[in-house]
Symmetry: C2
Subunit: 187 residues, 2 copies
Amino acid sequence: MIRTNIELLQYIEKLRKENDNNSFILEDFSPKHKLIVQNKATYYVYIVKSGIAKCYLTQDTGSDFIQEFFGEGELFGEIETISEGSSFCSVESISRLFVYKIHKSHFLELLKEDNKFNSIILKTMANKIRYKAIRHSHNQSNSIKSNITRLYSLFPYFISDISKQDISNYLGINIRSLNRILREINH
Amino acid sequence: MIRTNIELLQYIEKLRKENDNNSFILEDFSPKHKLIVQNKATYYVYIVKSGIAKCYLTQDTGSDFIQEFFGEGELFGEIETISEGSSFCSVESISRLFVYKIHKSHFLELLKEDNKFNSIILKTMANKIRYKAIRHSHNQSNSIKSNITRLYSLFPYFISDISKQDISNYLGINIRSLNRILREINH
DNA sequence: TTAATATTGGGGCATTTGTCCTTTTAGGAA
DNA sequence: TTCCTAAAAGGACAAATGCCCCAATATTAA
């Protein structure tokens, strides 16, 4: 639910220290700021330094479906950069958010020239695929109750960190259903 | 639904022609053969030459959820190889299936030494992430009817190529619901 | 402070989807 | 051919989920 990638974050920070004229720029956003907007061109790749953001798709019906919550070290914008399309989702800060951003062209350069970086990105993307597969598989073939129970066991405090509306959008259900089940679980 | 990756297939076949002692082995499977088994170690990465396979996760409840159908050029086994875990899904032939297989260690070697190959794999993985995101987003926030209608427009002949049970498992619904909606759509 | 707005919680009902079961049809093996 | 099994189709009812509504509480703005 709240994804992190400490190995990547540490490597980025190491690169920043070693290189003075480095390509990573630290930025600071307050909540509800959109860093990436669905269907718009993107110019940067981002890595979360601290805080939480949500990554979501807006459907034709107007409803949002949240793909992931990004925490420390999470990477985004890389898909758009590597496969050269406009953005297929939006990314918006939930809490105060610090990110390192790097221009597309520098990101692609690093991918080519830095073997270690290349291998970390490959691993990061492999993990995203694995995680998505498992999550969506569970979500699509189990009841809401079982999905929420699963979240409780994986992320005991998700209820306090994330709004009910966002949790609903993450589960692909409506907020009434979420409340109904939460009530049932807590007697 | 039936994913393909012609660029990758062509590149593999080019490598095979240029290199006599190449690392890709052509194999031939009849339907219902499991090439990868969930939770077991894997030793190879595969690329589909022709035919169709399904990639699915089996839940604790015993039900299967189909991630994707793999057609020409689709890659699998790469996640397990890159992120070094046992398999998180099973892959099973649906039709007669020809695949190129390559040993994990050779795959990793190619990734390091062949820039073009590296870049094709990165693009392939980026596309998987994008595709999964869009599919699951739609599937989780729309009715069965709208999901089936979407399949019809994307893959007009899916009904004739794939069994009803597999379609149900792909949509994360039960077969009764599938039949009910199909009937409704066709009056 | 007060007013305005967003978030949370839940009642009541409609709709969708799942479960169980039976029949029909199609295809393969003996 | 006949038998066996798997796939497909659908009736009837139960359970899960969505939708619309309103009230209570918390948060933000003036």
